[in-house]
Structure formats: C-alpha cells, structure tokens
Symmetry: C2
Subunit: 196 residues, 2 copies
C-alpha cells in the first residue's frame, strides 16, 4: 500500500494515524502541495481532483481522506458495526468536511503558508464565524461524552486532525474545555502518533 | 420515521429520492430554512449544527444528508457491499460535500433566494472556479462510465441533487455532455421522483 502524503496536511495525518493505530504497513510517498505537486499531469491521473492524500492499494486508487479511513478501518475496533453508530460515525465525518475543515483547516493553511496581505485577511475574515460555530457544536457534544460516538472511532480521528492544531488557524481552544479534554484522551489512545 | 425536510434544499431531496426508490415510508415535516426554522431552540436540540435535513427514526436522530443515505440504503441495491466499491461510493459522497456543494449549491441558493447586491456578486464570484472544477472532474469520470461507481448507487443520488439544477446556480451544463447523459440515465432509474 502507498500513501501519497502531504506532511503539512491534517487530512494526510488522519491516514498516517489510522495506519499506525491499526499496524497497517504502508509506503509513504511525500507530495509537496506548496510546490504544485498535486497538480502535475501524473498526479492528476491518480486523483483528477488534484488533492492529497491519495491511497494506492495495488491497482485500487482512493481519494478523500474520510473515505480512506472507512476503507482502512472497516472491520476494526475503530469503526462501529451497529447500523446507527456507523451512521453517526459518518455523520461526524461529513460534519468535519463540510462545517469544520473549510473554516479551520483553510485558515491554518492561509496563516501558516501564505504571506500576510489584504487578500489573505479577507479570506480569513469570512472563515471566522464558521470555525467558531463548528467548535461550539463539538464542545456541546463532548460536554456529555468522551468521544464523538461510543468509544474512540475514526470520527474522532477525522475531527482530531485539524482541531488539535486549531490555534495555528487562529482558533485557540481556551473557551473549549471539553474539546481540550477530548484532545488529551485521543492522545493517550493505543498507537497514537503526533502529526509531525 | 420522520424527515425534517426543506423543499428548496437538494440535500433534503437526496433523502426524499432514496426513500422513494427504496419504498421506505416516512413522514415529511417541512422546515422553512428561509425563515430561520433550522435555528429555533427546538430545531437546535434536534441538530445542534442547525441544518436540514434531519432524520428521526424513533429515538434515533441523524444529521448530514450523505450519512442518511448510507443509513437508509445500506444493504439495498443502492450501496455496494464490496469493500473497494463501498469506499469509492463514499469517496464521491465526500467529493460532493467538499468540492461540489459549497460552490454549486451555495451559488444556487444565493441566486434563487438572495436579492442582487454587490455582496452577493462577491460571494458568487469566489464560487465560480470551484464549481467549474467539480463539473470538469465529474465530466472526465462520466466520459468513461455510466455511473460514478458500478451501477446506480447513492453516490449518484448525492451528486445528482445539485448537479441537475446546476444551471440555477449559474453553471449551465452545455459543455458537459457526459454529465447531461448521466442526468438522463438517473431520471430513468426505477422509483425516480423529481425534486419538486
């Protein structure tokens, strides 16, 4: 198995984390998204949507980090078998990609990898409200639960990736004690590896 | 089963379509998103993220349209059992929510439900490139296949919802013959119902 992996991408980190926690051997192929390596003709043949990570398993190619989490972890302790819990796991993963990542991860990318400018400030400004809203939804949910579904699942992995570095996107977690406690719990799960 | 449903939302339509195609009885509870009905205290107790649709199955509550598609259709002809095809189905559903819906559905909402203004024009402008990019990815894929995975699946339902009304978001499909042929195929699937 091969993972086309961006070291700076939380979406890539999700996959490295699940591989580590399930002990799945995989060759890491570094892709430099800052230098256009996901937009080369070769990479676009792999993923026409031009994004990392991409997983290659023999002749099978899969894009979308959260689809990879399901592919790799289905049948393991990290994916509930029960129909309702499985659906809730997916619910939180779709929440992550729609209501969280476009605000928090994108802000982090702008702050960490683009020079300060009026254009960058404008892009950051329109992402503030959505980011805080996502964190408030998470805080409310985690105030009454240890993990997003029952026990640690790939929903936690999906949400952990960019939440634990939310401060780097301008979203410090000072007002979110339940999220901070959950981050600490995730970090003690067996096989946990840090992002860098 | 109860579906909290917005008549103008393609995400809600996905669920009405899968319910019709699988013959699942369900009570439709109309929710008026234009008048803040997804932001009332009662609705936020149902879905703290404040979005429709929401599915209620007895005491089980599920948000996120694509998670609902899996919940409702798992085990039916609309969801591949095979591990790889299942993962590809999810891949296209995450593509829909991340790379398609925020551009095409949001543009449609702005054009159909917000008055013309400089602010609206600016919001539409930043959504053009992503919308066309998503359509190009779909066109390239469908040029060699009848459906997104093998045979008609919930990935087609997820992508059909806003693609077949892309013109209402300012994305006419004149240059996308493979997408247009796919739309016509979806519309002849057993149990198909139109959006309105």
């Amino acid at each position: 198995m091969k993972l086309y992996d961006s070291a700076i991408s939380g979406n890539s980190y999700k996959i490295r984390l699940v591989l580590a926690q399930l002990g799945i051997p995989c060759t890491i192929v570094p892709v430099d998204i800052l230098h256009g390596e996901t937009r080369t003709p070769e990479f676009l043949r792999l993923n026409p949507n031009g994004r990392a990570p991409v997983l290659e398993d023999g002749d099978f190619v899969l894009a979308e980090s959260n689809a990879m989490l399901i592919y790799l972890a289905r049948g393991s302790r990290l994916v509930p078998e029960d129909r309702r819990r499985f659906a809730l796991t997916l619910q939180w993963m779709f929440f992550e990609q729609y209501s969280h990542e476009p605000y928090i991860a994108t802000s982090r990318f702008l702050l960490q990898h683009q020079p300060d400018s009026a254009e960058r400030a404008a892009k950051l400004a329109v992402r503030r409200e959505g980011g805080w809203a996502a964190l408030r939804v998470m805080e409310g949910h985690l105030a009454r639960r240890d993990f997003f579904v029952d026990g640690y699942t790939i929903a936690d992995i999906a949400l952990f990736a960019y939440t634990h570095v939310a401060r780097e996107g301008g979203f410090p977690l000072g007002d979110f004690p339940a999220i901070r406690a959950w981050i600490a719990r995730v970090q003690t799960e067996p096989g946990f590896i840090p992002m860098t």
